[in-house]
Structures are given as structure tokens and as C-alpha cells.
């Protein structure tokens, strides 16, 4: 027994003797130790211990070094036993009477060897199984921690909706820790509101293996969240559903923004409808004005003229002047109505924008005001003008108004000079100017120039309805441009108009 301790000693219980040489060395050493112990025992007059000692050496060798070194140990043990402990001593001769002992020894050694090698094989297999298991555990642990890395909400529940996995994203979104969530019924924990009966969702999930939809849930702190939820069904080898993996994305903010946009759109639609209605009303109003307001005027003028014709011989000078006044006022009223209607049409009409060559347009406009220039001495200076992007007929009307104004307010000059040209403006716009040497205006009243019915001169000096420049401004504004003027009393005026040269989406 003491011998076995000695044999175990050489630090072999922990370390595997894998090297073949070490295995054979073990065989030799263990047999040598057994022999030494046996001889020691013999010298101490202890008999019959050598046989188990050698068996022990064989067993130790087989156990640690495997069957082949074991065979060596058996052979060495047999030889040592034969040499030292069987008659005749110190020879390798075996007496026939001792032979069964050797046979038993060898057989016994082989039994030990076979048990040992079997055990080693089992141990080997076990180790392998353990290693595999360890690898798998490591892999799973890694996967689980990977799922925890994402901020997406992921959890797994069994077929009874009990939560079996809860990642960091789930904790971040819902506020429940994994410890709190595990084992809870997910729909109860999160107070899930489904967009359709849960049975329909379940049957869809079982049929297709997946389901997607938007769900309302409640956080640990009681706040509501809307999530885009995806469910995937997990089945075992027998195709039985075992778990549901649910991935949720927080879309509360998006839904809120969508709602806001919807509300804004509805508001806008309502306003557009209202605006359209107003526009229609306005149009009907203008239509009615142009029909019904002009008719009585026409009648007034008509009958007054007839009266003038039929009765002027019996009327005195004063009465004839009264009739002339009636006619003048009625005609002025007619002009006002026409101008107002034209002005309102500009506000209502759709703009049809194309590239418009200003040079050509200016020539047309100058031609149009020709009747007003008859008998006048006018020096026209028309510079090079660019092409702009706008509604041709509207721009034409604006130019006619401006040029007609220039002609009108230079009437008092012996020599009239009107210059039309282009000056530098901002990028993407052309600035057109119309300069005259007429009566000009006081810059103090510059802001009144473009107002409807605003006039800076008495009607008897310069006729007009006070709508022309308002029309110009409205046209320019509808093009996204600006209009302004510079002037000095008695020293002429310059009107500036900026118009986009490129198509702009802002107007």
C-alpha cells in the first residue's frame, strides 16, 4: 500500500503521459520500484507481497501510459518475478509447478490493461463531449451578448407568452429589466393593444411562421409607445411551435410626426377649399360687376347723349355743361370699372410662364401706346434687354402701363426723353428700368405710388384711375419680383422692375 503512494508520486496524476517514450520509461520505473519494494519486503522476511506489487506496477503503467507500455511492464514484471522470487532463484528458468502462476499473472495483467484502456476511452469521449459543450455554451453566451449589443428591442416568449429572453434594447424601450420581465406574460406586462383579434394574429403566425404589425404598448413608467412589431415563430425538430421571437421598433415619434403632417395637410386642404370658395365668389362678383355695373352706365351715357342731341337747342349754357359733366363722370366710372376688373383678373388668373424676350415685348408695348404719343416729340432710347421667365400677356400689360405712364407724365415737356434699359440685379433676376424726364414725384409719397386708387396728381392735370401702378405691382409680385421707383419733383421718374430670368418654383 505504501508502494502505491510512492508510485503515484512522480507527479503523474495531473499530467497525461502522452509521449510514448515517457510511457515506456514509466513501465521500467514502476516495475523497478515494485521490484525494489519486493526485495525490501523479502529482506524484512515479509513474504507473498511481490506478486501484488508487480500487479500494481502493471496497473499503474497501463492506467497512465496505455496498453503497449503495459505489455512491457508485464514482461519486465514477469522476468523480475521469475529471476528474484521463483525457484531456482536468479535464473530465468521457470519450474513447471510455477508456470500456472505466470499464466494467471499475465492474464490478470491483461484484464487490468483492458479495463484501464476502456476507461481511458470512455474518459476520452467524455472529455470530448465536455469540450463540445463548452464551445457551444461559449457560442451561445456570445450570441446572447451580441443580441444585447443592439438597441433594437428583442425578446423571446414561449407559446404561453411567458418571456424567456429579454435583451438590453427591450429594457431600454420598456423600462423593465430582464430579471423583472423573465417569466411574465408579455402582453400583460406591456398591456399590448392589438390592431386585430389576437386569435387572427396567432393563426397567421402559425400559418406563415411570421407576423408583422403596429402595436400599442405601455412602458414601466406608464408612457405609451407605438412599435412596429415583427414576430417569428420557432419550431422544434418535430415542427412543433416552441417560441416566438419578437422584434420591436419604437415608431412613436414617427407616428406623432405623421399625425402632425396629416393634421397640417387637413388644415391646408380646408384652407385651400375656403380659398377656392372665396376665389369663386370673387370671380362671380367680378363677373357680375362687369355685366351689371356697366349696363346702367351705358344707359346713362346713351340717354344723356340723346338728350344732348335732342334738347341742346332749348337748354341754356349751364345745363349743357351739366350734361357734359354727367357724361364725363359716367365715362370715368366706366374706365374705373374696366381697370378694376382688369386688376382683379390679374389676381385670379393662372400665370402661364414661358421664356419671354423683353426687347420684343417692350417694342410691342411702345407700339400699343402710340395713339397717346401722337403730336408729341419723344426721344426713345431702348437698350439691350434680356429674356425673362414669366407670363407674357401679364408682363406686357405691366410694360404698357409703365410706358403709358412715362408718356403721360412727360406731356408737359417740350422735348420728352424716355429711356428703357436693364441694370444689374441679383443673380437669377433681370432689373428693367423705365426713365422719363417728366414731372417726377416727391419720394416722400413713394410708398403711395403702387396702391390701388392712389394718385399723386389732380385728375384734371393727369387723367387716370389710380390702378395702373397697382396692376404693375400685382403682376410683378405674382412673378416673385420687386417694383420700386425713384423720382424728383420736376426732374423725372425712374421705375424699376425685377423679374426672374430662370424658372423658380417659389411662385
Amino acid at each position: 500500500v505504501a508502494g502505491s503512494d510512492a508510485v503515484e508520486k512522480p507527479d503523474m496524476s495531473s499530467r497525461r503521459v502522452t509521449s510514448v517514450l515517457l510511457g515506456y520509461a514509466l513501465a521500467v520505473v514502476s516495475v523497478a520500484i515494485a521490484l525494489g519494494l519486493a526485495l525490501l519486503a523479502q529482506s524484512q522476511a515479509l513474504h507473498k507481497v511481490e506478486f501484488p506489487l508487480f500487479l500494481m506496477a502493471v496497473a499503474v503503467t497501463v492506467w497512465h501510459a496505455g496498453p503497449v507500455p503495459g505489455v512491457l511492464a508485464v514482461a519486465l514484471s514477469g522476468l523480475s518475478f521469475n529471476y528474484h522470487f521463483t525457484q531456482p532463484l536468479y535464473t530465468l528458468y521457470i519450474e513447471p509447478v510455477d508456470r500456472p502462476v505466470f499464466v494467471v499473472f499475465v492474464l490478470f495483467a491483461f484484464v487490468i490493461a483492458s479495463f484501464s484502456s476502456r476507461r481511458r476511452r470512455i474518459e476520452q469521449e467524455l472529455r470530448q463531449a465536455r469540450d463540445e459543450l463548452e464551445t457551444e455554451v461559449a457560442e451561445r453566451t456570445q450570441q446572447a451578448s451580441l443580441l444585447n449589443l443592439t438597441h433594437d428591442t428583442i425578446f423571446v416568449r414561449d407559446m404561453n407568452d411567458g418571456i424567456t429572453y429579454w435583451n438590453r434594447g427591450a429594457q431600454e424601450l420598456y423600462g423593465w429589466t430582464a430579471e423583472e420581465a423573465m417569466g411574465q406574460r408579455s402582453h400583460d406586462l406591456l398591456q399590448t393593444v392589438f390592431p386585430m383579434p389576437i386569435d387572427e394574429i396567432r393563426s397567421e403566425l402559425l400559418r406563415a411562421g411570421r407576423w408583422e404589425g403596429e402595436l400599442d404598448k405601455t412602458n414601466a413608467d406608464g408612457t405609451q409607445v407605438v412599435v412596429a412589431s415583427r414576430w417569428s415563430l420557432r419550431r422544434d425538430e418535430q415542427e412543433r411551435p416552441v417560441a416566438i421571437l419578437e422584434t420591436n421598433n419604437d415608431i412613436t415619434e414617427r407616428k406623432r410626426a405623421e399625425r402632425e403632417i396629416r393634421t397640417l395637410n387637413e388644415d391646408l386642404e380646408k384652407r385651400t377649399t375656403e380659398l377656392e370658395a372665396t376665389n369663386k365668389e370673387l370671380e362671380a362678383f367680378a363677373y357680375s360687376v362687369s355685366h351689371d355695373l356697366r349696363a346702367p352706365l351705358r344707359h346713362m351715357v346713351g340717354y344723356t347723349e340723346l338728350l344732348q342731341k335732342n334738347a341742346s337747342s332749348i337748354l341754356d349754357e349751364k345745363s349743357r355743361r351739366f350734361m357734359a359733366m354727367i357724361l364725363e363722370s359716367a365715362k370715368r366710372m366706366g374706365n374705373l370699372i374696366d381697370d378694376l376688373l382688369a386688376f382683379s383678373r390679374i389676381g385670379r388668373a393662372e400665370t402661364r410662364k414661358t421664356m419671354v424676350h423683353l426687347e420684343l415685348l417692350v417694342k410691342e408695348a411702345v407700339h400699343e401706346v402710340r395713339p397717346e404719343t401722337e403730336g408729341r416729340n419723344i426721344a426713345w432710347t431702348i437698350g439691350a434687354l434680356p429674356a425673362v421667365y414669366g407670363d407674357r400677356s401679364m408682363l406686357r400689360l405691366a410694360l404698357v402701363n409703365l410706358i403709358s405712364n412715362a408718356v403721360k407724365f412727360t406731356r408737359t415737356q417740350a422735348q420728352t426723353e424716355i429711356e428703357i434699359g436693364c441694370t444689374d440685379g441679383q443673380e437669377g433676376e433681370a432689373v428693367l428700368f423705365i426713365r422719363d424726364n417728366g414731372v417726377g414725384f416727391d419720394m416722400k409719397y413713394g410708398n403711395k405710388l403702387f396702391g390701388v386708387f392712389q394718385r399723386l396728381h389732380a385728375t384734371e392735370t393727369f387723367e387716370g384711375t389710380g390702378i395702373g401702378l397697382a396692376t404693375v405691382q400685382r403682376i410683378v409680385h405674382r412673378h416673385g419680383g420687386r417694383v420700386w421707383a425713384e423720382g424728383l419733383v420736376g426732374r423725372g421718374a425712374t421705375f424699376y422692375v425685377s423679374v426672374p430670368t430662370l424658372s423658380r418654383s417659389t411662385v
Binding site: 362687369s290 351689371d292 346713351g302 376688373l341
Partner: protein
């Protein structure tokens, strides 16, 4: 004197009727003017029905048509005339107070022969009526089946 065609005036406003007739009379064109006061009456005349069942079945040489009319408005009358095989050849002149572009576009689409905006100034109005009357009732050769008589005076 050249023969005058019959003028059918469709106008609801009595003052406009009077002024138009005066203008036509100034140039001796008023002898053969039939006045109807709304679109329905005008169509009755053209189809010889209602109070016009007994009239001789001849088309007018020209039709002066106001647009804003009671019952059946001018554009409807125009559409009816231009879509009728027997009436479509009658020259139709729209005579209106309105400068409205959509009325003009609609009228020309329906096949109007002329579109005149009544001027506020009576002189201009008389001139316009005169020219219209002379052109359509005198110069223009009306289609077959229209009334044309020798002018009086």
C-alpha cells in the same frame, strides 16, 4: 336701296333695347327688327312655337344676342342654334356688357360669328351697332332661307 335682312335682337334690358333700336334707326336699319326678351322667347321665335307659331318660316339674317339673359342664357341659345341643322347658318353676333375672357372663349368655341363688347360711350355704341347692322343686314349675303326685304326710306 339694297334689301335689308331681318334682325333678331335678344336683349332683356328695355333700355338697351331702346338704345339699340335708336342706334339702328339712325341708319335706317330698324325697320325689320324682332325683339325677344329672353333666351326661351328667342328659341320660340326661331322654332316658330309659342307666340310665334303663326310667323312665316324664315330665318333672320342676323341674330344680335346678349349673354346675360333670364330663363335661357345667351350661351345656351348660341349652343342650341349652332347644333341645329336648320339654324346653324344664321350669323350670330354676341353683344355683351362683359369683357370676360371666358365668355368670349366659350362663344367662339360654340361657333359665334362675331363678339362685340358694348362700349360705355354712346357714340361708340351707335357706331358699333351701325357697323354691325350694315355688315350683317346689308353687306353680308345671308344664307338661303333668310328674310331680306327692301329697306324703306
Amino acid at each position: 336701296m339694297s334689301p335689308l335682312g331681318r334682325i333678331l335682337l335678344v336683349e332683356d334690358d328695355p333700355k338697351d333695347v331702346e338704345l339699340t333700336l335708336i342706334a339702328l334707326a339712325e341708319y335706317n336699319l330698324a325697320n325689320e327688327v324682332v325683339v325677344t326678351r329672353d333666351g326661351a322667347e328667342a328659341l320660340d321665335y326661331l322654332y316658330c312655337r309659342g307666340s310665334f307659331t303663326t310667323r312665316t318660316n324664315e330665318n333672320p339674317a342676323v341674330l344680335l344676342l346678349d349673354l346675360k339673359l333670364p330663363k335661357v342664357d345667351g350661351l345656351e341659345v348660341l349652343q342650341q342654334i349652332k347644333s341645329d341643322e336648320n339654324l346653324r347658318m344664321i350669323p350670330v353676333v354676341v353683344l355683351t356688357s362683359s369683357h370676360e375672357e371666358r365668355d368670349m372663349v366659350a362663344s367662339y368655341r360654340l361657333g359665334v360669328n362675331a363678339y362685340v363688347v358694348k362700349p360705355v360711350d354712346f357714340h361708340e355704341f351707335v357706331n358699333a351697332i351701325k357697323e354691325l347692322g350694315i355688315f350683317w343686314a346689308v353687306i353680308n349675303e345671308p344664307p338661303p332661307g333668310s328674310v331680306r326685304r327692301n329697306a324703306l326710306g
